[in-house]
Subunit: 276 residues, 2 copies
């Protein structure tokens, strides 16, 4: 039986299996939407990964990831742009809904977050023509402020949407509950994203209390404090009815369990905790 | 020689020494402003702590802390308000510049952050008459969003100032660089806080890359990525010229060093990294 409205970000079972096996497990559980990471695709081989996706009627709710624009020097800057263009090409090969952008933090030991944000803007602007030519939408993923220094200096939905407004069509947002659930302006900004027609993805997991690791201790939906149904209601009221994509980094828990159990739990929790 | 403009939050050396010894070390280094925590005061005895402070001409840039308003039931709610009134009385005994409010997170296993925020507002409103009668200013400290669930559901300066506007006089903000440095709207909100005349405290430390612990891995000024001089310029441009208060929780580094070395380093880094 197909599970409508659920996508699995393959990072969720990255420690347990490679691309082909991950797809098989998703299909076994009736899931036909996925979001792979580029390193997972590279290990399988891009052509083979695309063949697996297309021959099984699978849809990509996103490819993870482009981004990491800020650079300490010109050579790195060009390298970053080139890598983003390759990521765009890969997203195009999959006909992915979007390329997710984790935009990058402070280059080297910079203390200038304003300059880093300018580089992010300039970097997206620089690769946007390539994305448009390839028919690939770019989804800025605002990351939780605890990642501002080392992963992404775009940290709120409002900030991301300000960028989208200036960049124009084909640049939108990936709304990941883990990163935005705390935002006092969340409801307003989701509604605004809807009016702009720029919601390209909706990622889910949960915020555990306590959180033991800043990167690798995300929770399964229902095990934490995020109002997942409430946020989904906001997202649907804003006009986005695409799949909810489960993305869980969990070094000490879910990555240590059999992938089949993890995906079965995702399906169960999606049904009990996530639908509007 | 007195060090003008520097205050030491005694949490910075809480593992090394008690109240009296901490004060002695500060005085030895020419520091006459401090901010103690209530548990440190309680261990010394309130009367004795007040005597030490007043007999040495010491000023409190704040007393830490009131807050933790959200409650799962009426009994806890009343207990929280009573505790805040006691904290206000202690701040008054010291003639502290303000009582710092770490407002609290989600009560029990609640997923309703909007309700928690309402409780924070109602709690401050409930104790505000007591604070005004005692001549104590209340400083809402917006905490980093990574503490939204378990420590403080007020997570941006803008959100705190919205509350201040509704609550009226004698409620302002403590601007701690660790909590707000990432905020894309930081410059605007500091300027706004200045126009409202509601900056009651300015706390400093640094954000380390990587940060190894969400609570106890704050950095010494200069060791991280925060633009301390830049933020101080914003704060002074907004009209606040009070002391910068060093508050470092550092289980694996600064709490393991001799208090004398820690305070000497605070003075040195204050001079080299923090002044506008």
């Amino acid at each position: 039986m197909q599970v409508e409205g659920l996508s699995i970000n393959l990072a969720t079972i990255r420690e347990q299996c490679g691309f082909a096996e991950a797809v098989d497990i998703c299909l076994k559980h009736g899931i036909t939407s996925i979001a792979p990471w580029r390193d997972q695709v590279a290990r399988a081989g891009l052509d083979e990964a695309v063949r697996i996706v297309k021959s099984n009627g699978i849809k990509l709710t996103g490819l993870c990831r482009g981004g990491f624009f800020p650079a300490a020097n010109d050579a790195d800057w060009q390298k970053n742009l080139d890598d983003n263009r390759r990521a765009i090409d890969e997203a195009a090969a999959f006909s992915a809904d979007c390329l997710v952008l984790v935009v990058g933090g402070l280059p080297d030991s910079s203390k200038d977050i304003v300059a880093a944000r300018k580089m992010v803007f300039d970097g997206i602007a620089a690769v946007l023509p390539h994305a448009r030519a390839a028919g690939v939408k770019l989804a800025i993923e605002p990351l939780h402020p605890m990642y501002a220094a080392d992963r992404a200096c775009v940290n709120t939905l409002g900030q991301a949407l300000d960028m989208c407004e200036q960049l124009g069509e084909d640049v939108g947002v990936a709304i990941d509950v883990y990163h935005v659930w705390w935002d006092p302006d969340l409801a307003n900004q989701i509604a605004r994203a809807g009016r702009m027609n720029r919601i390209f993805a909706h990622h889910i997991c949960d915020w555990l209390v306590p959180t033991k690791d800043m990167l690798l201790d995300r929770g399964m939906m229902g095990d934490g404090v995020i109002d997942l149904k409430g946020i989904r209601r906001m997202v649907e009221a804003a006009g986005f009815f695409g799949a909810q994509e489960v993305e869980i980094f969990s070094a000490e828990n879910w990555w240590k369990r059999p992938a089949d159990e993890v995906i079965a739990t995702c399906v169960e929790r999606f049904r009990s905790c996530c639908q509007a």
